[in-house]
């Protein structure tokens, strides 16, 4: 039971401690994860915005190049002259400039000067072919009026810039540009009269451009790009890009449902993370922004996105998680130790109290009670202590009274000698002992000879004084192992035991006779009380206490009848009675003549 309480308390405290540290650890871990993801989202959004700004800047840079090339003095001239009377030298110079630009801009795929006339015939065209710039010659030049970068650009005011949607270049014979995702930046070539007579267009490779833009982005970032309808243009999985080109459109809104808001233009940025949207962004953190794209003032836009693996974001959380687990384990062990100590501290005083209570009557106190403590246990200990003292004092009193009662029951209250009952008990015990040891016992029945006269003459009070004095004298003459008791009235009885009882008996009887013959001073009078004594002996005069007492009494009467102031052995009485019986028989036989002894 005591162990039970201690164990229960230990388990309870340990569990509380472990639970508290575990929960704290868990919530710290979760909060940290949420914080890291939040932080990653913010930084990802910033990076996406930065990337989008760079894209704008890059497009502006291309536009600047387009202006430079369109303003080359030769360009309008070539366009105007090119109605069959081509200025070949001017074309060569322009082509050389185009080749230089292609050479210095790895992202440029084509630079062309296109005429408004002749169904948009290319006049000067330089293509990238690997690392080389290739000039496309007359016979291979194509008509381009059906392409938006021609008809849209020609519709612009001088100085305007056309930026095409990003598409895959399917123009036959375009060298490196063929089959690649590209955007076109173009401006009208204006004649001296201010009319748009042609178009200068640069084809920019999307992949090279993005590679340049994301050069300082962390390696684990991945780029997503979609056109205004949501068709993927850039995706980590290349097979998902330009789906419209393969007859199977793949939309950003389908892959990332939340981006629908961007395409419906209700939001300008969307953030997703794999913790809150595990279905849309499994294991990733993503940021998307909508960005106007194409001709200034147009309603065209693209959606640009960056992703980062959630695992990378949470790498820090994992480290922290590991150390949290370690801390939780350490604190749990600590909690268990503390729980054991605490349970002990609480239950030990209780155990002391319980021990004290269970050993209350044996008075075997092992530990001092914690009386000095100021807490509830101290109060309990003090109460217990006070209670135990009170019980003890009451018990002592009770014992004392009981002792008194026992004494009263077994003693004569006048002489303070054992009474008849006590004497008989002692005699029976002595008979049992003597039966075992084979020793002898003697009972002396003492009757005072002149007590009645003293009592009658001097009063009961004097009689009582005589009885007390007789008792003292009797005690005085007895040996240590012998016993004297008052049977009542002026009758006393003495038990003599031990070896040589027979000799001692006569001796003691003589001493008693003598001491009671000595004068007593009662109320200023000297008196002699005197006594007659009957003696019975065990085992010869009786086997029981009653028999011995009865026979001693009989012997005493015989002694008294014999003239008092003497003692008589019972067996002597029996012998004399036998003799008398024989003599009276003889007398009968001799004629009823009394025979005198």
């Amino acid at each position: 039971m005591r162990l039970g309480l201690s164990l229960k308390l230990t388990v309870l405290l340990a569990c509380t401690g472990i639970l508290a540290s575990g929960l704290t650890g868990y919530y710290a871990y979760q909060a940290n994860r949420a914080m890291l993801v939040n932080e990653a989202e913010r930084s990802l959004l910033t990076s996406t915005e930065l990337l989008s700004q760079r894209l704008s800047t890059a497009v502006s840079d291309v536009a600047a190049d387009v202006f430079v090339l369109a303003d080359l003095q030769s360009s309008p001239k070539i366009v105007q002259l090119d109605s069959g009377f081509a200025d070949e030298q001017a074309k060569d110079r322009v082509a050389q400039a185009f080749a230089n630009f292609i050479h210095h801009h790895p992202e440029y795929l084509q630079i062309r000067l296109i005429s408004r006339q002749r169904s948009g015939l290319e006049l000067v065209r330089v293509d990238r072919d690997g690392n080389r710039a290739v000039r496309v010659l007359d016979a291979s030049l194509q008509e381009k009026s059906q392409f938006p970068y021609v008809f849209e650009t020609l519709a612009l005011t001088p100085g305007g810039v056309y930026v095409s949607p990003i598409t895959v270049n399917h123009e036959h014979g375009a060298h490196s540009a063929e089959g690649r995702a590209a955007l076109r930046v173009a401006t009208p070539v204006v004649s001296e009269s201010g009319a748009a007579v042609g178009v200068l267009v640069i084809d920019v490779d999307l992949a090279s451009l993005l590679k340049l833009l994301q050069i300082d982005l962390p390696g684990d970032y991945q780029v997503y790009l979609a056109n205004e309808w949501g068709d993927f243009l850039v995706h980590p999985d290349v097979s998902k890009t330009f789906g419209f080109d393969k007859g199977r459109r793949i939309f950003m809104q389908d892959s990332f449902v939340s981006t629908t808001d961007l395409f419906e233009q209700t939001k300008s940025s969307v953030i997703l993370n794999g913790m809150e949207q595990p279905q849309q962004a499994p294991g990733q953190v993503l940021a998307f922004i909508r960005k106007p794209f194409g001709m200034s003032g147009g309603k065209h836009f693209i959606v640009l996105g960056l992703s980062k693996p959630l695992a990378d974001v949470l790498a820090g959380a994992k480290l922290l998680g590991d150390s949290i687990i370690r801390m939780v384990l350490i604190f749990s062990v600590l909690a268990i130790v503390l729980a054991v100590l605490c349970a002990r501290a609480v239950t030990q005083p209780l155990q002391i109290l319980a021990h004290a209570a269970s050993n209350f009557f044996t008075e075997k106190i092992v530990h001092a009670l914690p009386l000095t403590r100021t807490d509830e246990i101290g109060i309990l200990a003090r109460c217990f202590d006070q209670m135990s003292r009170e019980i003890k004092s009451r018990m002592d009193l009770l014992h004392h009274k009981q002792h008194e009662l026992v004494h009263l029951a077994s003693h004569d209250d006048l002489t303070n000698l054992p009474n008849r009952m006590q004497f008989l008990q002692t005699l029976e015990t002595a008979i049992q002992d003597a039966t075992v040891s084979g020793e002898q016992l003697a009972v002396l029945f003492i009757d005072l000879d002149r007590f009645k006269q003293i009592n009658d003459r001097l009063g009961h009070s004097a009689g009582d004084s005589v009885l007390v004095a007789v008792a003292k004298r009797l005690q005085h003459v007895l040996r240590g192992g012998d016993m004297v008791a008052r049977l009542g009235g002026d009758e006393f009885v003495v038990l003599i035991k031990g070896p040589k009882t027979t000799d001692a008996t006569t001796n003691i009887a003589t001493k008693i006779m003598r001491t009671l013959d000595d004068e007593l001073s009662v109320n200023g009078e000297l008196l002699t009380v005197g006594a007659s004594i009957g003696i019975s002996q065990f085992p010869i005069d009786g086997a029981s206490a009653e028999d011995l007492l009865l026979n001693a009494d009989a012997a005493m009467y015989a002694a008294k009848a014999d003239g008092r102031h003497t003692f008589m052995h019972y067996h002597d009485l029996v012998e004399s009675q036998k003799l008398k019986a024989v003599l009276s028989k003889v007398a009968e036989m001799e004629g009823n003549k009394p025979f005198l002894v």
Partner: protein, 345 residues
């Protein structure tokens, strides 16, 4: 104990087989296009025929081809495909002939669709392999403000009066076919090299008359409205009309006298069909007015039961057929679109 164990094992095996048998009895695997087997339609069928329908959607002929070829036999019971594709699958022996008597709803179809032999690709060696379900013609869309009288010929596309106001679709097969149709060739799908050469020249003439080519329907709508186009080759047919009208264009749709190309999607049953009766029930169910009508309501597609508003039943419609040499057409088309000049061909 062992006997009890074996008995229970037999019992569970029995359960397993009976449930497997039940599954094959009541499951129909459908390969279809978006809008052909919407959730409510499937639910109705499932309730009526106490069956479970598993619908797999595809969005291109290529995807359909891939699905039909995943596994040694097709993993589907019924499929929807256009006439050209049906012909390919028939030749590959991937389909099972259909019994018209099991398809009473075919009686409700317009005469044009009941004359199965007039539609190339549905009958092979006297057996019927597919039943028409929905179609879309590739007619001319015109701006009623700029062209008050509906054009009656495809040649309007290269009419100089509409120069820079014409939109065409960027597709090798259809452009050759419809140009050949406009030029009066009997079989626009099987052209001789000489015919190809002439068609190519005509297509360059068309190109020079164009504003541009379009790829996507929404792109077409935007170009049409923004550049105030007068005329457009409607590759997506009547489906395009809705979005054009929504964008504010006052447009008309016409099937020219030379005829219009049209794709026709049909239902067919695969060679590996498990429950023929259920598959036929499905095809028959698809031809119920309430189901076929949904195509028109929800997708803007014509069904085979009612005459559509946009294209009259009398219009000359030419169902798509496999072409003589698709690679050659695509190679030439790539050069035409890119702007190669006539003299280079």
């Amino acid at each position: 104990m062992l006997r009890l164990y074996i008995a229970s094992l037999i019992f569970y095996l029995g359960l397993l087989f009976s449930s497997a048998a039940g599954a094959t009895e009541n499951i129909l695997r459908v390969l279809a296009w978006p809008g052909y087997a919407d959730g409510d339609v499937v639910k109705t069928f499932e309730t009526r025929f106490h069956a479970k329908v598993e619908v797999t959607l595809v969005d291109s002929d290529e995807a359909l081809w891939d699905k039909m070829h995943s596994g040694t036999v097709p993993q589907f019971d019924v499929l929807a495909a256009n006439t050209v594709e049906i012909q390919r699958y028939t030749h590959e022996s991937l389909l099972t002939p259909l019994d018209l008597s099991q398809l009473p709803n075919t009686q409700r179809q317009l005469p044009r669709f009941r004359a199965l032999s007039s539609i190339g690709g549905l009958i092979d060696a006297g057996k019927i392999y597919a039943i028409p379900f929905t179609y879309s013609s590739m007619g001319l869309i015109y701006d009623r403000k700029q062209i008050p009288l509906a054009p009656h010929s495809m040649s309007a596309l290269w009419d100089p009066q509409y120069k820079g106001k014409v939109l065409a679709f960027n597709s090798a097969q259809h452009n050759f076919s419809f140009t050949a149709l406009a030029m009066g060739y009997a079989n626009p799908f099987q052209l001789s090299p000489a015919q190809i050469k002439l068609v190519t020249q005509k297509m360059i003439a068309t190109r020079r008359n164009l504003l541009t080519y379009y790829n996507l329907p929404e792109e077409a709508t935007e170009l049409f409205v923004q550049h105030k186009a007068a005329l457009m080759f409607g590759n997506y047919g009547t489906q395009q009309m809705t979005s054009l009208r929504l964008a504010g264009a006052d447009v008309g749709y016409v099937i020219p006298d030379e005829g219009a190309l049209a794709w026709l999607d049909c239902w067919a049953m695969t060679r590996s069909v498990v429950n023929r009766a259920l598959a036929l029930d499905w095809i028959n169910f698809m031809l119920e007015p309430s189901v076929s009508g949904l195509l028109t309501q929800r997708q803007g597609l014509a069904n085979t039961l009612t005459v559509s508003l946009e294209s009259s039943d009398t219009g000359h419609i030419v169902w798509l057929q496999p072409v003589e040499d698709i690679q050659n057409r695509e190679a030439l088309w790539s050069r035409i679109v890119s702007g190669d000049r006539p003299e280079s061909f």
